[in-house]
Symmetry: C2
Amino acid sequence: MHPHDPEVTAAITALDLFAGLPASALDEVTARARVRTLGRGARMFDQGEPVERAHVLLSGAIRIAQAGSDGGQVVLRFIGPGEIFGSVAIFTDHLYPADGIAMVGSTEASWARADWLDLIERYPRIALNLITIVGRRLAELQDRVREMATQRAERRIANTLLRLARQAGRATGAGTEIGFPLRRKDIADISGTTLFTVSRTLNDWRRQGLIADDRRALTLVSMAGIGRIALG
Amino acid sequence: MHPHDPEVTAAITALDLFAGLPASALDEVTARARVRTLGRGARMFDQGEPVERAHVLLSGAIRIAQAGSDGGQVVLRFIGPGEIFGSVAIFTDHLYPADGIAMVGSTEASWARADWLDLIERYPRIALNLITIVGRRLAELQDRVREMATQRAERRIANTLLRLARQAGRATGAGTEIGFPLRRKDIADISGTTLFTVSRTLNDWRRQGLIADDRRALTLVSMAGIGRIALG
DNA sequence: CGTCTGCTTGAGTAATGTCAAATCTAGTGG
DNA sequence: CCACTAGATTTGACATTACTCAAGCAGACG
C-alpha cells in the first residue's frame, strides 16, 4: 500500500494523534508516512534496537512484549488499529523498550525520526495529543501495578479482560468480543500469571457461562459477571 | 515563601521541565507560580479530586499513593525535589489518580490549569520536556510491571532500592544513602509485597552488611551486592 | 496422516501472605 | 529525668495461592 492510497489517507487523518490539525498539516503528515504490511509473527521492531521511526497501526494487531535479562516475559500492551506504538522512546533513551510482533497480518504507518520531530515542532498540537495518549497509558499502567500488587490472579485476569474489552471490544449477539487473537499465554503475560492459571480460570468461567471462547475470539458473555469478579 | 524569593526562582528555573526556555519565559513561569509549604503528613491533593493545578516539588518528599476500591494500596512513586507530580491528568481525565502526601515538610510550586495550558501553548518546548519526563516514567512503570510479574519478592525489593538510589541517592562515606524517609510499609507498597517480607529481607541484608539502616535513612552499603540480588 | 502448536488437567511444593504478639523508638508531658 | 503512649518494627507459626512440572489431548495445516 502506498501512503497516497485513499484508504490509508483516511485512516491516518482519523487518528487521535492528529486530532485538531488543519487539512494542510494532515496532507503533509500523510505525504511523509511510510506504509508497510507484515505477516503474522513478523517483528515490527526488536527490544534494544535504536528507535528510528514513530509507528501507528492502521490494521491488524501488535503484541508489545518485554523480556527481562532473565527469561521472564511480559506483554506491556496489545496495539489495535488507530493506536500509536514504539514511539515514545524517541524522546527518552532512543531504544525500543520491547519487541513489537504482528499477531496477525498488520499494516502500519511510520515516520522517520527527523520528520516526526519536524512535524511536531511545526504543529505543537501533535505534542499535546501525544501527552494525552501517553498520559492515559501511564494511568493504565498505574492501575496494573496496583492490581498486581494487591489482587489475586483470578481478579487480575478479570480486570485484564475488561480492559481489553474497553480497548478493542465489539458488541456481538453473544456479548462483547475482544478484537485480539489471544492465546492463553498472551493473557497470562499481560495479567502477570501463568498460562496454566489462565486456562483453569477461563474454563471455570466458560462453565459458568460468563465467557465464550470459540478458539477464534474470546467473547465476554456477561460483562457484569466478570465485573463482579474484578471487584472481588 | 513567595514566588519572587530568589531561592525559589533559582529552583524553578533549574527544573528539567523548563530546560531550553529563554530567560523571559522563565520569568513568566516564575511569576505565575504559587508556592506553598506543607508539614509532614499534609495532603497535597486527594485521589479522585479534580486537577486544578500542575505541581513541582521544590524541597521535601511526597508519597504518591493509589488506593483501590477495596483496601489495597500501592505507592506509585516517591517525588523528590525538582520533580513534577500530579500534573499529567490535566491532559486526560482531569482527576488525580492518587493521593499526594508530604512525607516530611515540603515546599511545592504550582500553576493554575489555565496558566499552565497557556504557558505550554506559547512555549511548546515545555510540552516536549513533559513528553520526555512522562516517557521516562512510563518506561519505569513498564519495568515495574515486568518485575512484579516475573520476579520474587526479594529481587523486587532489590530492584526497588536500586531505583530509589538512582532517583534520590546521595553518596556518603558509608555508601549510597536514599533521600526519602522510608518506612517498611513504604518499601512494601512500592515493591508489591508486605511490610513483613520487607522487614525480614532488609534484616537479612543488614546482617550481611549490604545495607545500613539507622532509622533516619537507608544506606546501600554495597550497591554491587544488592545488584547481584536484583539480577537473580 | 503426521507434526506442530496450543490447551487442559493433575499432583506436589515453595514462596509469601496472614495473623498474633512481643519489642523497640521517638516523642510527649508530668 | 522518667513514665507513658503511639507508631513502627521484628519475629514466629500457619495457611494458601498459584507456580512448577509432567502428561495427554485437540485442532490446524501441510
